[in-house]
C-alpha cells in the first residue's frame, strides 16, 4: 500500500496541547514520525530578563498549566541558590506538601487525558473529579485554582490555614481508596491491557542516552528520582520510596509500565503528604502571620555580580532544571540570564522515535503514556 504523511496537529485530539506530530503511515502502520515543536513558544526565558526575581514566579507557574506549583518551586530553589537564602523548615514542609498535592493533581490530569486516548471516557470524569479535591486544597494555599504564585524567595506566601491539615488528611486518605477504584476499572479490563501491554517499548539505556527522566524513566527500572538521588527540601526526612517499576520484557518498558509507575507515584505522594503533615515543625494546626520567621526568611533583592544559581528539581514529568546568572548592580534586581531545562522538551522527540512500527491506533496510547505537556516544552 502506498505510504502517506499525516499531519496530526497542532489541533488534534491526540496532541494534548498545541504541537504537530507528522507520521508517515503504510496502511495502518507507522513507518516514520517527526515531532514539530514551537507552536506556543512564549519566550519565558527572555521575558524573565526584564523582571524582578519575585516577578518571575508567575511566569514559571504558567510554564506547565497542569503542574504550576512544582515549576514555581523549581524556579524558587534556583533563585534561593543565587541569592543565598536560608529557608525556614516549616516553609520547606509546606512546599513539599503543596508540591506533592500538585504532583497528584498533575498525574490525575494525565490519567484523565489518557482514558479518552484509549477510548474510555469514564476514567476521565473520575480522575478530573478527584483532581478537584487537590485543586481545592491548593486553592486554600494560593488563592487560585491553576496558577498559585505561592512560593516566595525565602519561604511561602502564607501559612497553611486553620483546619487545612484535617481536610488534607481526609482527602488524601479518601484518595488512596479512589486509586483502587481506578485500578478496578482499568487494570481488570482486558481491553485496557490489550491496548497498553506490548505497545511502545522503551529501553532504559536509550532513555538515559536521550535524557528522558521522571516516571517515564523509572517505568523502565532505572532508580533515578531527583528527590531520592539528590534530596533537596526535606525529602530525606519524610517516609517514601521512588516509584520504580520492573519491566518484564527485555524490550524495556511499555505503556502499561508507565501507567503503573504513575499510579505507584501517586500512592507515594499520598504517603509523603500524610507523613509530612504529622512532622511539620510548629504544629499543623497553628497559623503564623505572613511575615513570621517560621514562614519566610529575609532575602536580598539584588544578586551579586557574577553569582549563579542552579536547581535540579523533580517535576511531575521529570527533572526540571533552572540556571540563573545574576546581573549585579548593572542589571538591578533582574537576572542577567535565565535558562530552563524542560523534561518534556527532551522526551517528545524521543517519543516520536518510539512509536515507529506500531499502528495508527497506538499513537495516542504511546503519546499519552508519556504525559506530554506542551506549555513547558515550548516555554
Amino acid at each position: 500500500m502506498a505510504q502517506m504523511w499525516i499531519t496530526m496537529g497542532p489541533q488534534h485530539p491526540m496532541t494534548h496541547g498545541l504541537w504537530t506530530l507528522r507520521v508517515k503511515v503504510d496502511g495502518e502502520t507507522v513507518v516514520d514520525a517527526k515531532a514539530e515543536l514551537g507552536y506556543i513558544h512564549r519566550g519565558v526565558e527572555k521575558i524573565s530578563e526584564s523582571r524582578d526575581f519575585l516577578q518571575i514566579t508567575p511566569y514559571c507557574d504558567r510554564l506547565c498549566y497542569v503542574s504550576a506549583m512544582t515549576w514555581a518551586n523549581s524556579y524558587i530553589y534556583a533563585a534561593e541558590d543565587l541569592l543565598e537564602v536560608q529557608v525556614p523548615e516549616r516553609a520547606e514542609y509546606i512546599r513539599l506538601i503543596s508540591a506533592e498535592c500538585q504532583r497528584i493533581a498533575s498525574h490525575l490530569m494525565w490519567l484523565g487525558a489518557y482514558g479518552p486516548d484509549v477510548g474510555n471516557l469514564t476514567i476521565m470524569t473520575w480522575a478530573l473529579r478527584d483532581r478537584e479535591l487537590f485543586l481545592d486544597l491548593l486553592q486554600e494555599l494560593g488563592g487560585s485554582r491553576m496558577h498559585y504564585n505561592y512560593p516566595r524567595i525565602g519561604g511561602v506566601k502564607r501559612d497553611i490555614p486553620i483546619g487545612f491539615a484535617d481536610r488534607l488528611k481526609a482527602k488524601v486518605q479518601m484518595f488512596e481508596h479512589r486509586i483502587k477504584e481506578y485500578e478496578m476499572l482499568l487494570d481488570e479490563s482486558t481491553i485496557f491491557l490489550v491496548r497498553l501491554q506490548g505497545v511502545g517499548y522503551t529501553k532504559a539505556e536509550e532513555m538515559v542516552d536521550a535524557g528522558v527522566t521522571g516516571p517515564n524513566l523509572r517505568a523502565a527500572g532505572v532508580n533515578y528520582d531527583v528527590r531520592w538521588a539528590h534530596p533537596y527540601s526535606v525529602y530525606d526526612e519524610v517516609d517514601w520510596e521512588p516509584a520504580v517499576e520492573k519491566p518484564t520484557s527485555i524490550k524495556g518498558a511499555d505503556c502499561y509500565d508507565r501507567y503503573r509507575a504513575r499510579m505507584f507515584e501517586m500512592r507515594q505522594s499520598c504517603r509523603m503528604i500524610l507523613d509530612a503533615i504529622d512532622k511539620i515543625p510548629g504544629g499543623a494546626n497553628n497559623h503564623y502571620a505572613n511575615d513570621d520567621e517560621m514562614i519566610i526568611a529575609k532575602a536580598p533583592t539584588r544578586a551579586p555580580e557574577g553569582a549563579t544559581g542552579f536547581s535540579n528539581y523533580e517535576c511531575t514529568r521529570g527533572s526540571s532544571q533552572f540556571y540563573i546568572k545574576g546581573g549585579g548592580e548593572g542589571r538591578g534586581k533582574k537576572p542577567y540570564r535565565l535558562s530552563i531545562r524542560s523534561p518534556m522538551f527532551i522526551t517528545i522527540p524521543y517519543i516520536a522515535d518510539t512509536m515507529i512500527g506500531y499502528k495508527i491506533a497506538d499513537i495516542p496510547a504511546i503519546m499519552g503514556s508519556f504525559d506530554p505537556c506542551i506549555g513547558e516544552t515550548d516555554r
Binding site: 477510548g119 469514564t122 487494570d187 481491553i191 491491557l193 502499561y256 512500527g357 495508527i360
Partner: protein, 500 residues
C-alpha cells in the same frame, strides 16, 4: 396468544368494509382488496416509523442519564435515582402523592431511601456535591428529556459545507445510503404481532442484508471526503466488516434453526409457544449477537472507524450541519434496532414474561395480560440498551483494528459455529414438537428426561458457572505478567515499503 392491540386487523376491517361499500358496482370493485392492502401497509409503515422514532428519544435520554451517572462516582444506584432527580437534588416534586388511592406510596418510600443512601448532600462524598453544583433547567418530569430536540435544532441551523476537492456526488450520496438503509431496517422490525411496516416471508434475511449496506456508505463517505482521516476511518470500517458480520449471521442462523423460520413474527411466536426464551437456550449465541451488534453499530469498544483519539472524528470528520446530525441519529437508530432485535430474538419479543403464571393469578392476572405487546418489546429493548450498550461504553476502552480482526476470526467465528451445532442438536433430538401450544401459558417443548423446562434450566446454570469461572480466572495485577504482545514491524530505516 393474541395481542390486545389488533391494529392491523382493525385497519383491514375498517378500510376493507369502507372500500367494499364505496366501490360496489364500480369498475374498482375487483381491486378493493389490493387498495385495502396498500392503504393498510402505508398506514402501518407510518405508524411503525412514528412509534420507533418517537420512542428513540427514550434511548437518547437513557444514554445521557445512565452514562452520566455511571461516569459519576456513585454508579448504578444514582442512575436509578437520576430518573426522577435532576442535578444537585432538584426533583420533579413529589408527584407520587398525586396518584390516587395511595398507589404511589412505595415510590415515595424508594425515593426517600435513595435520597438517604445516595444523596448528593452526603458529607462523606464532598466531590459529588462540589462538582454537581450546577443549576438545572427543564420540564418538571424527565429532566433532560428535551435536550435532544435542542440538539437537533442546533444541527439544523448549521451550515452545510462540502470540502473543495471532495467528490461531491459521492460525498452527498453517502449519508443517504447510511440513513436510508438504517430507516429501512426499522420497517422490517415488528414491535408487536400487529405493529410492523412490512412482513416478508424471509424478513430476518432481508433485515440483515440491509444492515450490511451502511458500511458501504461509510466507505463511500471516507473515500469521497478527500481527507486522510476519513480515508483511514472508511477503510477500517470495510476491514472490520467481515470480522463481525459472519459470526453474527451464523448466530442468527442458529436462532432461525431453533425456531424453524426466517420470519421475525414466527421466531417470537415460537419462543412463546415452545416455552422458553432463546436467551436461556443459547446464552452463548446471545452474547455473540450482542458483541457483533456492538461492532455493527460502531459503538465503544468497537468504534475504530470513528476513533476520535487518533482519527479526529473518523469517517464523518468532514460532515457538518444536519447531515452530521442525521448520521449521528442513524447510529442511534441502528443501536435501537439492534436492541429491538435482541429483544425479538432472545427475549420473547412482545410476549409478557411469565404470562401463564401471573396471568392465572386472580385480580392482577387479567390486568397483566391487558398490557399491550409493544410495551414489552420497548421495555426489553430499553433494558438491553441501558445494561449492555451504555454500560459497555462506560466501562470499556476502544480496541484496535487488528485486534478486532483477530478476535472476530479466531474467537467469535468458532464460537458461533459451536453454537450452531448445539442448536441443531437441540432442535433435532431434544425438541418435543407435540408440546408446542399457542395458549397463554405457552408450551413445554424443552423438557429434559421428564423434568419440566429441563434444557433451558440446565443450559442457564451451566452458562452461569462457566461465566463465574471465567470471571475469576485471571488476575493480571498480581501476576504482573504481560498477557498480550503485539508483533510490530522493524524499527525505522530498516523497513522498505512494498518489500513485505
Amino acid at each position: 396468544m393474541e395481542d390486545v392491540i389488533q391494529i392491523r386487523t382493525w385497519l383491514t376491517t375498517l378500510i376493507g368494509d369502507g372500500l367494499e361499500s364505496a366501490t360496489a358496482d364500480t369498475s374498482l370493485a375487483p381491486h378493493a382488496g389490493d387498495i385495502t392492502f396498500f392503504l393498510v401497509t402505508l398506514l402501518s409503515c407510518v405508524m411503525a416509523f412514528a412509534l420507533i422514532m418517537l420512542s428513540m428519544f427514550m434511548i437518547l435520554w437513557l444514554e445521557r442519564k445512565i452514562l452520566g451517572r455511571l461516569m459519576d462516582r456513585r454508579g448504578a444506584m444514582t442512575s436509578l435515582r437520576s430518573l426522577w432527580v435532576g442535578e444537585n437534588g432538584v426533583t420533579a416534586g413529589e408527584w407520587w402523592k398525586k396518584i390516587p388511592f395511595g398507589l404511589g406510596t412505595p415510590v415515595g418510600a424508594i425515593v426517600a431511601w435513595l435520597n438517604k443512601t445516595a444523596g448528593n448532600r452526603d458529607p462523606k462524598n464532598p466531590t459529588v456535591d462540589r462538582v454537581n453544583n450546577r443549576s438545572w433547567y427543564g420540564l418538571a418530569i424527565f429532566p433532560g428529556f428535551f435536550q435532544n430536540i435542542a440538539d437537533g435544532l442546533k444541527f439544523m441551523t448549521k451550515e452545510h459545507m462540502v470540502p473543495s476537492r471532495a467528490d461531491k456526488f459521492i460525498f452527498e450520496l453517502a449519508p443517504f445510503l447510511v440513513i436510508s438503509s438504517t430507516v429501512l431496517i426499522l420497517g422490517m422490525i415488528p414491535l408487536s404481532s400487529q405493529i410492523y411496516g412490512a412482513n416478508p416471508e424471509l424478513s430476518v434475511l432481508f433485515a440483515f442484508a440491509i444492515f450490511g449496506i451502511a458500511p458501504l456508505g461509510v466507505f463511500f463517505a471516507g473515500w469521497a471526503s478527500n481527507n486522510k482521516y476519513t480515508l483511514i476511518g472508511g477503510i477500517r470500517s470495510a476491514a472490520q466488516l467481515t470480522a463481525y458480520e459472519i459470526p453474527m449471521l451464523i448466530t442468527i442462523l442458529g436462532v432461525c434453526v431453533l425456531a424453524g423460520s426466517f420470519n421475525f413474527l414466527e421466531i417470537v411466536h415460537f419462543q412463546h409457544s415452545s416455552g422458553s426464551w432463546f436467551l436461556f437456550l443459547m446464552p452463548l449465541g446471545a452474547v455473540l449477537f450482542l458483541i457483533a451488534m456492538i461492532a455493527e453499530v460502531e459503538r465503544i469498544p468497537f468504534d475504530m472507524p470513528e476513533a476520535e483519539a487518533e482519527l479526529v472524528e473518523g469517517w464523518w470528520t468532514e460532515y457538518g450541519g444536519m447531515r452530521w446530525g442525521l448520521l449521528f441519529a442513524a447510529e442511534y437508530m441502528r443501536t435501537y434496532a439492534a436492541c429491538i432485535l435482541f429483544a425479538i430474538f432472545f427475549m420473547g419479543g412482545w410476549h409478557a414474561p411469565f404470562a401463564g403464571l401471573i396471568g392465572r393469578t386472580p385480580y392482577i392476572g387479567g390486568a397483566y395480560l391487558l398490557i399491550p405487546g409493544i410495551v414489552w418489546t420497548l421495555l426489553k429493548a430499553w433494558l438491553i440498551f441501558s445494561f449492555v450498550f451504555v454500560w459497555a461504553r462506560a466501562a470499556l476502552p476502544r480496541i484496535r483494528t487488528d485486534q478486532i480482526l483477530e478476535f472476530g476470526w479466531r474467537m467469535l467465528l468458532p464460537l458461533a459455529f459451536i453454537q450452531l451445532v448445539l442448536v441443531i442438536i437441540y432442535r433435532l433430538y431434544l425438541f418435543d414438537a407435540g408440546s408446542v401450544h399457542d395458549t397463554i401459558e405457552g408450551g413445554w417443548a424443552w423438557n429434559l428426561y421428564g423434568i419440566p423446562f429441563g434444557l433451558p434450566i440446565l443450559i442457564t446454570v451451566l452458562s452461569c458457572v462457566l461465566f463465574y469461572w471465567l470471571l475469576n480466572d485471571e488476575d493480571p495485577v498480581d501476576t504482573k505478567e504481560r498477557m498480550f504482545h503485539v508483533r510490530t514491524l522493524e524499527p525505522a530505516g530498516k523497513h522498505v515499503a512494498g518489500t513485505d
